[in-house]
């Protein structure tokens, strides 16, 4: 048994080889073209390999080479702004090497090995350092990239130097071991950290329904399930664009090519609302579209997660979007069925649930080995077949995640976007975040939120009655409730992702809207008591102005004006 063996069988992306004795998940180069693959099963002297590329034309008898190491990601300066496929090959480099279509047998390193980066040490010779500790910095796009001691190395700094280096060059020697700016890490293993902490700060996304009604924390997990066309991708992209994380890792896992193009063209043009710099500067994109090899799709979420963990270890808040985890699960199913494994539910492998929880557990807010806090928030899109939420991927995901943004086909059909259903969605974080909201937004913010949720719940009950007897049969007070919830839905919950003003709503503005609608509601209730008709209230110019204000450039002035004139306009309605 040696480093080289031969192919025994080829069946699609699954290749069986003999003559090598690798470890599980080690990378094997397959065939004349040296296609990359990973060991997924060992039976006697036969090694089963999943190949990341198309295997057409590969024959039994061709050579295989055991690289002796698992699939690794290259971590270091140069990650930001990159666009990778599922196994961290940079797509622009692939295009240079093989043209517009992705051919096979081409490898490319994840980082540019020729580029020089200015390295400034923050420790000096003779210092004692431990694994994960920061030893130097490199300015990179939106952040100060921190160079850390690779896991497993502890001891005295024998040598460290400042200057311009490539990621391959030695910048320090610690305990006799050479340290470079680049680390390699096996993607299927989580990177170590000191300890996990409870997340207590919201991830502000600028999306009203998310931030106010169903908030996610920095370090939290959320799932967005929804049938096709309900807006999973738009929601994911909105979060990727506007969430207040320092780093965004966006994994396009088995999705549409044209959608990735949209991300690729819009992100460099969009500005981060906080730093004013292009969004691409804080983003790492992984694009493994649906027609790219399925094995690479399976690996893509791990590649993305490893990159996210690397930035977390520097003490940054990272948000990771996976669109869509269902395609990842399907890739597992496809490979499992080629291995002729006994299927679990709906043909998915029995380990589906274990893999999903392992993945989401890599999220969280932690104290990194360097002692600084960092976090990874994960938002996974789920694409349930037929929009049926009882299917295995959705169900197994819901058992793990703590925020559930349920997208709804009915809302989509009436163009209510984001089509997040306010009755079925939930966030298990809202209670623990109340303190933050009270302190940073307004003392009565949780109260306002609960008022809105309660009223929407009441609306659902009233709608059932309306379906039977018509709205005219309702007493005025209930008609008013419907009018107010219509305002909450149309003004507050609906948000136009494509409108330059409405696409991002800062927390303070979200509160202002909620508060104005609430004030409107109490005025209106008094007016109804004084026998003003609900119709007259619904037709008020004030209401109209409030509804349209969210599309206006001078939105803050208009809101102030509405707040100032509300009392007077209601007085003008008269009544008894």
């Amino acid at each position: 048994m040696g480093k080289e063996g031969v192919i025994y069988r080829v069946a699609g992306p699954v290749v069986t080889a003999v003559g090598i004795s690798p470890r599980m998940y080690d990378v094997i180069l397959v065939g004349k073209e040296q296609l990359m693959g990973e060991v997924i099963k060992i039976v006697g002297d036969k090694t089963v390999i999943q190949v990341y590329e198309d295997t057409s034309g590969v024959r039994p008898g061709e050579k295989v080479v055991d690289t002796g190491q698992p699939l690794v990601a290259e971590l270091g300066p140069g990650l930001l702004g990159s666009v990778y496929d599922g196994i961290q090959r940079p797509l622009p480099v692939l295009m240079e090497k093989m043209g517009d279509f992705i051919e096979r047998g081409v490898t490319a390193p994840g980082l540019d090995h020729n580029l020089k980066w200015p390295f400034t040490p923050v420790v000096k010779q003779g210092d004692k350092v431990t694994e994960g500790q920061i030893i130097g910095t490199v300015p990179e796009r939106a952040i100060t990239h921190k160079v850390m001691v690779p896991p497993g190395i502890n001891g005295t700094v024998d040598m460290i130097k400042a200057g311009e280096f490539t990621v391959d060059e030695i910048v320090a020697v610690i305990d006799g071991k050479e340290v470079r700016m680049m680390q390699k890490w096996a993607v299927r293993r989580g990177r170590p950290f000191a300890k996990k902490t409870a997340p207590d700060e919201p991830l502000i996304t600028g999306q009203r329904v998310c931030d106010t009604l169903f908030p996610l924390t920095k370090g939290g997990t959320a799932a967005i399930p929804g049938g096709f066309g309900t807006g999973k991708t738009v929601t994911q992209q909105q979060l990727a664009k506007w969430s207040d994380a320092e780093i965004v890792v966006y994994i396009g896992c088995g999705e549409r090519g044209n959608e990735m193009t949209e991300v690729l063209t819009s992100f460099p043009e969009l500005k981060d609302p906080r730093s004013g710099k292009p969004l691409m500067n804080r983003t790492v994109l992984i694009a493994n579209t649906s027609n790219m090899p399925v094995a690479a799709r399976e690996a893509s979420v791990y590649t993305g997660m490893t990159i996210a963990e690397y930035f977390r270890d520097m003490g940054l808040n990272v948000s990771l979007m996976a669109d869509s985890t269902s395609r990842w699960a399907e890739a597992m199913r496809e490979i499992s069925s080629r291995l002729e494994e006994m299927p679990g539910e709906e043909g998915y492998p029995a380990y589906l649930s274990a893999r999903l929880s392992e993945f989401y557990e890599r999220a969280g807010s932690v104290v990194a080995l360097s002692g600084t806090p960092g976090s990874i928030s994960v938002v996974g899109a789920v694409s349930p077949p037929g929009g049926d939420l009882s299917e295995p991927v959705t169900q197994n995901t819901l058992r793990i995640v703590r925020v559930f943004w349920a997208l709804d086909t009915k809302l989509r059909e009436r163009r209510h976007f984001p089509a997040i259903n306010w009755l079925t969605s939930y966030s298990l974080y809202s209670g623990q975040l109340d303190g933050w909201y009270k302190k940073n937004v307004a003392e009565d913010f949780p109260e306002m939120r609960n008022w809105a949720i309660g009223l929407l719940q009441k609306e659902a009950e009233l709608q059932e009655i309306v379906q039977l007897v018509g709205s005219d049969a309702l007493p005025d007070e209930q008609k008013l409730t419907l009018e107010i919830t219509r305002m909450i839905r149309e003004i507050f919950l609906q948000q136009n992702a494509y409108h330059p003003v409405d696409t991002y709503s800062p927390m303070s503005r979200q509160y202002t809207y909620l508060k104005l609608i609430n004030r409107f509601a109490s005025h209106a209730a008094k007016a109804v008591e004084n026998e003003v008709s609900v119709e007259a209230i619904a037709n008020m110019d004030l209401r109209n102005r409030l509804a349209k204000s969210k599309f206006e450039d001078n939105i803050e002035d208009i809101l102030k004006d509405i707040a100032d004139t509300m009392d007077k306009e209601f007085e003008a309605l008269g009544g008894k």
Binding site: G57, D100, G347
Partner: protein, 461 residues
């Protein structure tokens, strides 16, 4: 290349032939099985090992005995392509059906088709005017998009597809345009209908037609769309043409996929369809788009009939997850005498926002379309209520919306089979209907557009 003929067939099952003790054979390579009468059948290697090779026969296995011989061609399937293919009618496996000469290839291309590097893709944003209001106004098609028609037996999806093929144009453009038409398992009569229309309108000379009819081998259907798309890619990205690909009917394609899966004794997924159907369909649909610095484009309109009009059936469901929206035809509308019976509520074009607005269609397009959607949805909801409580119980506001929904179907959805509406015409028509609503209800439209386009303000000038 002359290759060795093996006489070691051990098993024949469904479309599969098992051959023992061969020299190394590549995965996906072509194989030829020779029958005792000397006739030849083509197939493709599905599984290759030292001991046994499994061949999937394109034209079925009927008549193949164990004594047949098998040869391997040492290469994967390639499609001969050339500019002269325009105007030709070919079989589902690419052989001429029109009595014309064999195609003299300018190139031979792998039919599997490599994935376009997402980095190389260009954002599709050029508006295609189809002349059909429900598409142009409400679910806009752009160049490089894949927009399927979800239909069902008995609905006029073929007529809609043909109307699109006939009328589709880019405003202010007169570039090279071609249609690639691939029929999979459609009846002879349907095929005749398409061919007659192509001939009547002279479209045939700009078209390449692939016909796999209902009585042709089901397995052949697996390669028909790949041949069609390989041709389309050649026309688009080598010859700089704008290609519209019509694929009909994907349901038959998926049935064939299931048939092969069953023959291979694979673990079935939902409703017996193979677990890899998503990836397989993606391999077809994703072959649409634009490439940076290339002039041509591929726009796909696949047609599929939803079994039992069930949009959650695996075929439309998986399709919807890959394509950039869908146009849904509904029987209720057809029953009400409306052509094209397109249900805008469940239809969607994901690339619409890229293709509309100032400089593309008109600045007010998005707002008007959103408003029509909301008003139409509200009006339709009220219909259910009217059935119970009667129109009298509705408020004036509700009655307004109810009328809007009726008018919408009668005037915007309904149009003639040869009626080619301009985008301006469609948008003005939409405004006309919105004009019947109380202006305060137009919450989705910026004030400035109302002042420019609302009929009330227009009449003043």
């Amino acid at each position: 290349m002359t290759s060795k003929e093996y006489r070691s067939i051990t098993q024949i099952a469904g479309p599969l032939v098992f051959v023992e003790k061969t020299e190394p054979v590549g995965y996906n390579e072509l194989a030829v099985v020779t029958l005792p009468d000397g006739s030849e059948r083509m197939g493709q290697v599905l599984d290759s090992s030292d001991d046994i090779v499994v061949i999937q026969m394109f034209e079925g296995t009927s008549g193949i005995p164990r004594t047949a011989g098998a040869r391997f061609l040492g290469e994967t399937m390639k499609m001969p392509v050339s500019k002269d293919m325009l105007g030709r009618i070919l079989s589902g496996s690419g052989k001429p059906l029109d009595g014309g000469p064999a195609i003299v290839p300018e190139d031979r291309l792998e039919i599997g088709g490599a994935a376009i590097n997402p980095w190389a893709r260009d954002n599709p944003s050029e508006f295609i005017q189809t002349g059909i209001s429900t598409i142009d106004g409400m679910n806009t098609l752009v160049r490089g998009q894949k927009l399927p028609i979800f239909s069902a037996s008995g609905l006029p999806h073929n007529e809609i597809a043909l109307q699109i093929a006939r009328q589709a144009k880019v405003l202010g453009g007169s570039e090279d345009f071609a249609v690639v038409f691939a029929a999979m398992g459609i009846t002879n009569e349907e095929a005749q209908y398409f061919m007659r229309d192509f001939e009547r309108t002279g479209a045939l000379k700009r078209a390449v037609v692939f016909l796999n009819l209902a009585d042709d081998p089901a397995i052949e259907r697996i390669i028909t769309p790949k041949l069609a798309l390989t041709t389309a890619e050649y026309l688009a990205f080598t010859l700089d043409m704008h290609v519209l690909v019509i694929l009909t009917d994907l349901t038959n394609y998926c049935e064939a996929l299931r048939q092969i899966g069953a023959a291979r004794e694979e673990v079935p997924g939902r409703r017996g369809y193979p677990g890899y159907m998503y990836t397989d369909l993606a391999g077809i649909y994703e072959r649409a788009g634009r490439i940076k610095e290339k002039k041509g484009s591929i726009t796909q309109i696949p047609i599929l009939s939803m079994p039992g009009e069930d949009i959650t059936h695996p075929i439309p469901d998986l399709t919807g997850y890959i394509t950039e929206g869908q146009i849904v035809a509904k029987r209720e509308l057809l029953r009400a005498g409306i052509y094209p019976p397109i249900d805008v509520g469940s239809s969607l074009s994901r690339l619409m926002n890229e293709g509309i607005g100032k400089g593309r269609t008109r600045e007010d397009h998005k707002a008007v379309s959103d408003q029509c959607y909301a008003a139409y949805a509200e009006g339709r909801d009220l219909r259910g209520l009217v059935a119970i409580v009667g129109k009298e119980a509705l408020s004036d506001r509700d009655r307004n919306f109810l009328e809007f929904a009726d008018e919408f179907e009668k005037r915007i959805v309904q149009q003639g089979r040869d009626e080619d509406r301009t985008i301006e015409g469609t948008l003005d028509l939409m405004w006309e209907l919105l004009g019947s609503l109380d202006e305060r209800q137009l919450t989705r439209i910026d004030r400035k557009y109302i002042e420019i386009y609302h009929p009330k303000y227009r009449k003043k000038d």
